[in-house]
Symmetry: C2
Subunit: 86 residues, 2 copies
């Protein structure tokens, strides 16, 4: 379980880290934010920040690193929504 | 740190659990999925599923419960994107 467990943490972390990269690219390119929920991305960013801090508490390298990357994309999407929302 | 750490896990968990509730409601109501990235929500759902399994490995009740709720909303948004994408 040790190896599988650690591996799961890496797969999850990589997915969560890069999942909003396509959304970020699409939003920057199209500037179409009509379908995006500002509220969702505010809560998401706060949640990811806390997950990252919780990762420090759990001594989980995966949670700290990958949530930091995820937070980066979350904040960019958030910025795009605020900038382009009508 | 014990109480703060556990509390952080709960705040993060609740945020991640409910963050895509507004997005889910907005998408169901408007059926506007043009701005949403299918790729992002596929990766997101896989990531959250692995986070949940990683939570079992870490014996983290917060990670298991809240990621399960988050996965639920992620899958609904995914379904809406596939159904309404032109």
């Amino acid at each position: 379980m040790n190896v599988i467990g650690e591996l799961l943490g890496y797969i999850a972390g990589i997915c969560i880290a890069v999942c909003f990269l396509p959304q970020t690219i699409q939003t920057i390119r199209s500037k179409n934010v009509a379908g995006l929920s500002l509220c969702s991305y505010v809560i998401y960013s706060i949640g990811i920040l806390c997950w990252m801090l919780y990762g420090i508490y759990l001594h989980s390298f995966q949670m700290i690193l990958f949530n930091a990357i995820s937070l980066f994309f979350g904040v960019i999407i958030l910025y795009m929504i605020i900038k382009h929302k009508k």
